[in-house]
């Protein structure tokens, strides 16, 4: 049976189990003289039987499906004669693909080694076998579980507690997914990064000044040794983030101050959503805007005043990224400014300070931790921003601080290295994961500090 059909069958069986459990509890109730003599409501008895039927079988199904492929390929590989046994991961993938295509009929059997044909036949047989085995096993477990749950019913059974326990377990599992996600991210980047650092020393990666990840495909190729010094990427990322922050921090902060302290409710109710639009625009749109409108504009302006500007200048990408971050900073700053108690404003105004003096000397110092936290979060967003720089910044890893020049960033390199063909045994592909690890650690650190600062500040005035 196909997996989707099998799942539907299991669901139907659970529904049947629910009905039978419900009916049986009603039977108990009739004997005892009413539902109130049962320990739980009849629906709980039904649900309990349904869970006994569905839960073990679905769990079994998922565990089997997760390991099915790797077990099949292990068996397949052990049956392959030594002369075509793959030596590397790349060869292994190639071989597996070939066998796969032979088995599905996408590749014609003509002129293929008989050993491979055998393997293809084995693969088809194993697939068929495992499908049948799985169907039988899952249905058996479902039936047995349902029967057990049905048989063990009695009027005193604490059905509600049992069902609620499973429900709470499910809730805990869902909440813990956040931890598994973080773990998954860490494992995926660390595992591949370690393999990368086995090929390229970590000191070269962190302090090397040259980045050209093109490695030679053949050993006799010229000029393709590949160098993995990531300093130009780090500097490029910092340069673009710096430009973005010089645009976003003053604009975001001043608009937040104006909206919170000066603007009337009418202006506020119009301007705030209008600025929020900027936060809702997808980054790919900003990238397009940066590449096709802002970059040519800066280039023309620069040329007309006699500056040489590349068409993929850091300035264009940084500027547009800054625009993207304005609403982010302004809404965070708005929150913290509004959290400053009114009494502090009143006290300052009563002493004769003007409104702007109150803001500059009382409100901003009071709100500073929150503002700093918000700015840190914004920096982490700027560092991790991908689409704008992929579309508007270049690929050339120049070591420069000139905003009119082309620089490249960590995220641009990750995307370029991982889009298209990936070879998980070459330093080129693996280096993307090392960059990902750096990116993750830096943003994690920034977020952690920022969230701490913001939280502490909130507690101060609550």
């Amino acid at each position: 049976m196909q997996t989707s059909n099998l799942i539907i069958a299991l669901l139907l069986m659970s529904a049947l189990a629910y009905y039978l459990g419900y009916q049986r509890s009603q039977g108990f109730a009739r004997q005892l003289g009413g539902v109130r003599n049962l320990h739980s409501l009849p629906t709980y008895y039904g649900m309990r039987v349904a869970l006994w039927c569905g839960l073990p079988s679905v769990l079994l199904l998922f565990i089997c499906l997760a390991f099915e492929e790797s077990i099949i390929s292990k068996i397949l590989l052990s049956g392959i004669p030594d002369e075509i046994r793959p030596a590397s991961i790349a060869e292994y993938n190639l071989l597996m693909n070939k066998i796969e295509n032979l088995a599905s009929g996408a590749l014609s059997a003509e002129g293929v080694k008989p050993a491979l044909l055998d393997a293809a036949a084995t693969l088809a047989y194993l697939r068929d076998m495992s499908q049948r085995l799985l169907t039988g096993l899952a249905l058996l477990v479902a039936g047995a579980g349902g029967l057990w749950g049905w048989w063990r019913m009695s009027a005193q059974l604490r059905a509600r507690q049992q069902v609620e326990k499973i429900f709470k377990g499910f809730l805990l599992l869902c909440a813990s997914l956040a931890i598994f996600t973080t773990l998954g991210i860490l494992l995926s980047v660390i595992f591949e990064s370690v393999r990368f650092f086995q090929q390229v020393p970590i000191s070269e990666f962190l302090f090397g000044l040259e980045w050209s990840p093109q490695t030679a495909i053949r050993p006799d190729q010229v000029g393709g040794s590949g160098s993995f010094g990531a300093v130009p990427l780090f500097l490029g990322t910092m340069l673009i983030s710096l430009i973005a922050m010089t645009v976003a921090v003053p604009a975001g902060l001043m608009s937040a101050i104006y909206l919170a302290e000066y603007a009337g409710s009418k202006v506020r109710s119009f301007v705030k959503p209008a600025l929020e639009i900027l936060a809702g625009v997808p980054t790919v749109v900003y990238g397009y805007f940066a590449a096709l409108t802002v970059a040519p504009f800066i280039r023309e302006t620069g040329t007309s005043i006699g500056l040489s500007v590349t068409s993929e200048s850091a300035l264009a990408a940084g500027l547009v990224m800054g625009i993207m971050i304005i609403p982010f900073i302004s809404s965070l700053a708005d929150d913290v400014i509004n959290a400053v108690p009114q009494t502090m404003r009143d006290g300052s105004l009563a002493l004769g300070a003007t409104h702007s003096e109150t803001i500059k000397q009382v409100i901003i110092p009071a709100a500073l931790p929150g503002i700093v936290g918000g700015v840190l979060l914004a920096v982490s967003r700027a560092i991790g921003e991908t689409m704008i720089v992929v579309m508007a910044a270049g690929l050339a890893a120049n070591l420069t601080a000139n905003p009119l020049d082309t620089v490249t960033t960590v995220t641009v390199q990750i995307v370029t290295l991982l889009v298209g063909d990936q070879e998980f045994d070459s330093a080129k592909t693996l280096s993307a994961f090392a960059l990902g690890l750096m990116l993750f650690l830096v943003t994690l650190g920034l977020n952690f500090i920022a969230l701490r600062v913001v939280k502490k500040y909130r507690e101060q005035y609550e």
Partner: protein, 428 residues
Amino acid sequence: MSKPVNATSQRIRETLAQRYRAEKRFRLYGVVAILFGLLCVATLFVDIIGKGHGAFRQTYVQLSVNYEADVLGIGDIDDAQQLALANFSGLVKKSLRSRFGDVSGRKEKRQLYRLVSNSAEYDLADRLKANHQLLGQSEKIWVLADDDVDTYFKSLNSADGPFVGRTNEKQQQWIQSLVDEGQIELRFNSDFFTSGDSREPEQAGIGGAIVGSLLTLFITLALSFPIGVAAAVYLEEFAPQNRWTDFIEVNINNLAAVPSIIFGLLGLAIFINFFHVPRSVPIIGGLVLAVMTLPTIIITSRAAIKAVPPSIREAGIGIGASPVQVVLHHVLPLALPGMLTGTIIGMAQALGETAPLLMIGMVAFIVDVPGGFSDPATVLPVQIFLWADSPERAFVEKTSAAIMVLLAFLITMNTFAVVLRKRLERRW
């Protein structure tokens, strides 16, 4: 004793004007900052609408076609094989040659044939297959013009003069003669919304990408809404005060701020390389986006649950309901509007996301509209990214139009979320 007071008030009086000027300046900075922000919004929209509005209309050219059996090479019209192999491209070329008599030489002929899109021959084939009587007859039909012709024709009346692009003088003369005869016109481009991607800009559409986006979003919603709500319920209602709970909370808050590209790495290393989920399909895209939007949904759902007053829970417990029953029967229904709002905002975020999808193979060039969750697909933002990279001038228009459609979707979703919140949210 009165002297220092006087000196102070003296100083205040002297500096008052300056202080008021500073006040005015400060206010002005605020106004400038806001105007800058609004200007950015306006520029962005004007720029994109200005570039993209043209793509909703496409240039069509009228051809008079004579379905000659010997040009087509069809002996027996009822033979499906003959019909499939028939030379419709020759038919298009012949009609073009007979429309413009003055064509000589191979080079010029090639330029002439380039006036109409290569989809014209498929149109003719479809017409003949639908109606066998047409063989030997002639008729006038409108066919799609080539993208260069389209760009040139659309810019004919623009202020900076026509955009010539790759069209040469001879082609421009032909187009002029078509204009004079009324045989070229702009029509509403319904294909743009229904067809998939194409290397030919005039045939490219966002239908495939929209369907891909919908399929992907469906998976995302199906995974992230129940899981997110369950996690929020656990953390707000059942979680004990212990380290594990604190650890979960720290993780959720951090994940909400992790760059989206990292989730692409997760999808590539864990889902594709470890669990062997196929690439480029809505399933893997939906999985990655679900993981990405989970923190947003959890955080907003928690806020919604927190807003339900404790008296409701106490009343429920008081009349004998179990804590689980209280949550399922009372707290969740009351918190649902807030949760839905958060979910819609999370979905809007997922709909606009591009970066993680690049890493899991959703950048493939896919012509067919996907028919299911395991068909290769691309999504709307990725389609925009792909078109933005294309060198053809006509794709600029298409990209901007696709952006307009994407923004329309996002604005609708966000407005819906706001309306939902205003309508259904209860304040206690």
